[in-house]
């Protein structure tokens, strides 16, 4: 039991950057094809990472490096908790801790664009945090446990009891992974009103670490998506992977077809979707019980 946890955590730490990088490459390739372009090779994110690690690193405030490393470590820690089968509540809290580290890194450089990006990132956190908490509660109400280890050993997939939760979660995934229309704090697309927002003053090796942490984050979020479909039956993992890819494709499609919205609109929209989908789901679940 304990050995299998260690193996799973090591597998996550080793494989997540590869899967995350390939997912981002896929994202850029599919986005390019949607726009009628050829697009970069699928391994492009790895070239980017290699380049970033080989560039000169300009550090504006030395504490920035500490926060960025802490962001990476907390992200890996959160993912390890998740894939090690830990407590969902702890995962949600450590996830917000990692985001706070990134926000602190942006605030510490004292630049106007970084500060604006950090403020918007805080707003984005306000939008998706309720959903993450509701998700943990929903899983507890329907399956009777907060432990991921128990949640993947159920007889029927969680999505049957929690369809609203899945819709709400897919919606906040757009915010969490900073896809358009909710890429307010920092964007993968060029030319926005505040340079690069959150990552404006992060360069070279530090930027590489941020990218790496984002890959770990993407894989963990896909893991969350997969958890809706996983049962004790090993065959269900195939369905879970297919569902993850479907959600990821949907994210790319939304990213490429929607222009950015204002911060307050994102706030209102996300809370509305969370309340209507996840809230109603939770209510019905409680009534049925």
């Amino acid at each position: 039991m304990a050995v299998s946890i260690v193996v799973r955590v090591i597998l996550y730490i080793l494989l997540a950057p590869i899967i995350g990088g390939l997912l981002e490459g896929l994202d850029r390739k599919i986005a390019a094809r949607m726009q009628g372009r050829q697009g970069p090779p699928i391994t492009q994110p790895f070239y980017d990472l290699y380049k970033l690690f080989n560039k000169q690193t300009i550090v504006v405030n030395s504490i920035q490096v500490l926060f960025i490393v802490a962001y990476l470590i907390f992200t890996i820690f959160t993912g390890s908790l998740f894939f090690g089968g830990g407590d969902l509540l702890l995962i949600v809290f450590s996830l917000s801790m990692s985001e706070v580290m990134l926000v602190l890194a942006a605030y510490s450089v004292n630049g106007p664009y970084s500060a604006m990006g950090a403020q918007r990132e805080l707003l984005q956190m306000m939008c998706y945090e309720p959903m993450m908490l509701l998700l943990a509660i929903g899983f507890y109400v329907s399956q009777g446990s907060f432990m991921v280890n128990d949640l993947i050993r159920v007889s029927r997939p969680a999505v049957i009891a929690l369809p609203g939760m899945l819709i709400g979660f897919a919606f906040v995934l757009i915010i969490k992974l900073r896809k358009s229309p909710f890429d307010l704090s920092t964007s993968h697309h060029a030319h926005q009103e505040m340079v690069k927002g959150l990552t404006t003053d992060i360069s070279g090796r530090d930027m590489g670490l941020v990218e790496l942490a984002e890959w770990y984050d993407t894989v963990m979020m896909m893991g969350f998506t997969g958890m809706f479909f996983v049962t004790a039956n090993p065959l269900s993992y195939i369905g879970a992977v297919a569902a993850c890819l479907a959600v990821f494709f949907l994210l790319i499609l939304i990213d490429n077809t929607h222009p950015r919205v204002k911060a307050m609109r994102m706030f209102g929209l996300s809370w509305l979707v969370i309340l209507v989908c996840a809230g109603t789901n939770l209510l019905i679940l409680n009534l049925v019980k």
């Binding site: 697009g39 970069p40 380049k51 000169q56 300009i58 030319h191 690069k196 930027m207």
Partner: protein, 188 residues
């Protein structure tokens, strides 16, 4: 893997008729698509590898160009795109135009044309990324030798002692006085 496989571009317009800028954007569009080579048009000097400049430089944009160049981390390459960026072009004799980009920062690649053709731009980018690799190698050697690689006070990258040439205009930091005298000379 090479550094040159992921060149991120920072595009700045000194003061042009916008013809070149439209061609720069055209080269990012589906028909030419420079993202094939991993090129991303970033708006951030701290993430950029290639500084792509269009248009001649005037008194107001000169400090901006200098600052953008200073903010870019090494290794970096500067591309002057269009005849205006190369030497002032058709606006050379205007009272406000101070000349091409190379009067202020060291330029590695000159891409001629009025307006510059997307094909020429893409070839320029291909040449620029070759230089990027070269500079990376130089940086590595210089780091090993313990030689100071970057001298921001002089606005140029000196990877070896022979590289530094005080006579090169771009190596000298222009002050307000020198710029004033240059302007007066031109007026006469």
């Amino acid at each position: 893997m090479k550094v040159s496989q992921s060149p991120w571009i920072l595009h700045y317009d000194g003061s042009s008729c916008n013809g070149c800028d439209i061609e720069v954007l055209a080269s990012m569009m589906p028909h030419f698509d420079v993202e094939r080579f991993g090129v991303i048009n970033t708006g951030n000097p701290k993430h950029a590898d290639i500084l792509l400049l269009t248009g001649s430089i005037n008194a107001q944009t000169a400090p901006v160009v200098r600052q953008l160049y200073k903010q870019m981390p090494d290794p970096k390459v500067v591309m002057a795109c269009g005849i205006c960026a190369c030497d002032g072009g058709i606006f050379k004799d205007c009272y406000n135009v101070m000349g091409g980009v190379d009067k202020f920062i060291p330029v590695d690649i000159y891409v001629p044309g009025c307006a510059v053709r997307p094909e020429a731009l893409i070839e320029g980018v291909k040449k620029a990324i070759a230089i990027l690799d070269e500079k990376k190698e130089k940086m590595k050697i210089a780091m090993k030798q313990g030689y100071c690689t970057v001298d921001y006070g002089r606005l140029a990258v000196h990877t070896t002692a022979e590289d530094y040439d005080a006579q090169v205009q771009s190596d000298a930091e222009p002050t307000e006085e020198t710029e004033e005298t240059a302007g007066e000379e031109k007026a006469q």
